[in-house]
Symmetry: C2
Subunit: 455 residues, 2 copies
């Protein structure tokens, strides 16, 4: 039996936008972080336009009801965990896009998948670079809310680098346009950038203007295996100090073997680390950079180095790297970490995690966007074993502590959400934390938006 | 006779940091915008470290005295115009820099010149791309405060794209560290980006962590003259829709002739428009892009197209473009505009400015970072002629109105400061303006920092 407030919202919005069917609502309680503390919302609201988002937020402010904004629910930090008595505002039905090849921009609604944005702009001969591993299932709105990263960041940067403008709806229902299809615009404070990565805590993104690039040139791929993690990490630094690879990914022994178990592509099961690198510099420069990387890997003691300019051959190794998470997931339940460190500390981080795995008697696989120091330690545990589950949870926190100790961050690209919130203040320090709170307070004084997440 | 409050600040800071000598103070009243309404400050404070900036701001908050932060005073919008009874806080003596070639980052204090940053990192084989025309005289702190642009933005983006971290001192004297040498970091709100472009209204930048690139490859240069502005602008769109030039600059007939008057390098005085473009793609790709641009210029009716892969020959044309402002300045006093439009509207903007010049009986020269739609109309007037000065001031506003009408911005890279403040609310609209005010209020509730600028 829906609360009477919900009836008033349902009356305001077009038919079907407000869903209270418990079976449907249940599917919106968690995102992929599977937060065990997820609440049960009053309703799921699926607006199709900015005006409906405004009506929803005005209603929520009037009734002091919490709103958890949600894209496609692929977040890994519990940024879209539902709260008891609140609503989940899903942008999944806002799916428009227009591409302007002259200004090389696109205006998209938030519910479109990242891959759909890529495809729509590719039809105009253009490229939207950001490529989180989940690009086929995650929404562009969620990408912006988390400032999502991916594999190409080492050369092409993260989501914020491609956001020229936004329309956002504030907690009180006010719709605001920020920025737009202008490649340079310094009029007023940098509010567009403030909303990127704000995890639904400052406003709901209802439209985005994206900067696009000409198509990515064909890449050369270099794959190398190492007998030592430190040697592989040092090879990474040698590469990035000199050239700009388009991808520079790391897999440890656990990941290599888990992938090989599934894909049977002939990976060296005895290798301790593997690097997958590409260069998309055009023509001879690409070959030159591939040769530079191969030489750097050899110089740092790589056991085997394989280079190819064949796109399909190269894609197989990139796919293997992308497949590492599901492959490791076959071993048990996963706690997926996302810590990042300055490049010089990468080897120490991986070594520290190895030691931690031994100490806690856990399997922890490390895969990494090595070129930008962003790692994804995968903590494997048996969810039916409470004692092991406890050890895994401890390791999750230990890894964040270790990253911060090494000058790193508690989250490189997934966001803070609810899972990492207990570590945020320790990482940022009291002054920066207070600054976060002041901004939140200024924009959402009643705390309607995504309460419990980030701040 | 300095106010008694000043004596208390001078007692707190090391000898010489607080300057009250009227002759020295007078030199800090204006920046290069030469705001005629500049006030006379109580003192100039020249701290050498973050702690002294903190002491200054704590003192200012205690006594409710306005603080105008200032880099090297090269701003063109009056962002560093002094206010009566306030102080000017100049960061010119904060000049440290350390470069980390492994993480490809540098940590710099704000008083270093942009060119000094470029040189310091070049000594480690690295490159800091942002290149405002004033790079030899402007400070890196000022660049960050204005989110400065330049010539390379069309390919390499603006200052914010290279800022990984900041230390800022808030109005109440609190020092806050935001971000750092991590290429990806999404822990907490995007506050680093919020301070970039905040024009000294939210805090004083005392340290910056910059992202660096490997050295820029040698560029090929293509220069073309046109008999029509529209044809030149259409050629620009044809280029940027397909490739990524490293520079794509525009000069109109007035600028061409003014430069030729001074440099006598054989520019075609009968040309209506000139484009200077470069490609720094490596090897054959650079030649290929130069050929593509030359062909695009020819296809759009260029009268003359000249290509060179000789760096010195190319540099001469880039220098000619950089010399356009001083060359036009020889014709009279200048009001330097900075409006930007979506690329598709560039030709309409230039045509509109031409018509405006005729209507107002003024000489207005248009130079532009054409590839990103950012133009610098130069309004020439005789400062001793009050009627002409009035017409020039009207044209200054008319050009902003015209840009906004065409979907553009009132400032692409110079900032709002005090000169453009009257146009900000009209451009942003009431909702975004209110959001700017809320952020300002949250971070500087007493309005100590740069009162009268931006918000």
């Amino acid at each position: 039996m829906p609360a009477p407030e919900i009836a008033s919202l349902a009356a305001e919005l077009p038919g079907g936008a407000v869903v209270t069917d418990p079976d449907i609502v249940a599917a919106y309680r968690q995102d992929r972080a599977a937060d065990p503390d997820a609440g049960t919302p009053l309703a799921v609201v699926r607006p199709t336009c900015t005006e409906d988002v405004q009506a929803t937020l005005r209603w929520a402010t009037r009734h002091r009801i919490a709103v958890v904004p949600r894209g496609m629910g692929t977040g890994l930090s519990g940024g879209a965990t539902a709260v008891d008595g609140g609503i989940v505002l899903s942008t999944e039905k806002m799916r428009g896009i227009t591409v302007d090849p002259v200004t090389r921009t696109a205006v998209a609604q938030p519910g479109l998948l990242n891959s759909e944005v890529k495809n729509a702009v590719a039809a105009h001969g253009l490229w939207y670079p950001p490529d989180p591993s989940s690009f086929e299932i995650c929404s562009i709105g969620g990408n912006i809310a988390t400032n999502a990263g991916g594999l190409c960041c080492v050369k092409y940067g993260v989501t914020t680098d491609y956001v020229l403008g936004l329309q956002v709806v504030l907690a009180d229902g006010t719709a605001v346009r920020l920025g737009g299809p202008r490649l340079k615009d310094v009029a007023g404070l940098s509010l567009t950038k403030l909303f990127v990565g704000s995890e639904g805590a400052l406003g709901v993104i209802t439209e985005v203007t994206l900067r696009l690039l000409p198509p990515q040139p064909r890449a050369c791929t270099v794959v190398a295996t190492f007998g030592s993690v430190r040697a592989a990490c040092e090879a990474v630094s040698t590469v990035t100090a000199r050239i700009r690879p388009a991808m520079l990914e790391f897999m440890d022994a656990v990941a290599i073997n888990a992938v090989e178990d599934k894909l049977k592509m002939g990976l060296d099961r005895t290798a301790v680390a593997m690097l997958v690198a590409t260069s998309d510099e055009r023509g001879a420069a690409g070959t030159e950079d591939a040769e530079f990387m191969a030489a750097a890997f050899t110089e740092h003691g790589a056991r085997e180095v394989f280079s190819t300019s064949d796109p399909e051959e190269g894609a197989a190794f990139v796919a293997a790297r992308r497949f590492a998470i599901p492959a490791v997931e076959a071993k048990g339940s996963l706690l997926l970490e996302d810590v990042g460190v300055p490049l010089a500390a990468l080897a120490d981080l991986v070594a520290g995690i190895e030691a931690l795995a031994a100490e806690r008697d856990l399997m922890i696989s490390v895969i990494a966007h090595a070129g930008d120091g962003n790692t994804h330690p995968l903590i494997v545990y048996d969810a039916d074993d409470p004692e092991m589950t406890r050890r895994a949870a401890q390791a999750f926190g230990d890894i964040m502590d270790m990253a911060v100790e090494l000058g790193g961050t508690i989250t490189g690209e997934h966001g803070v959400g609810r899972l990492k919130k207990p570590w945020l203040a320790g990482y940022l320090g009291p002054e920066a934390m207070e600054l976060n709170r002041r901004i939140k307070q200024a924009l959402d004084p009643d705390g309607i938006l995504n309460p419990g997440a980030i701040i």
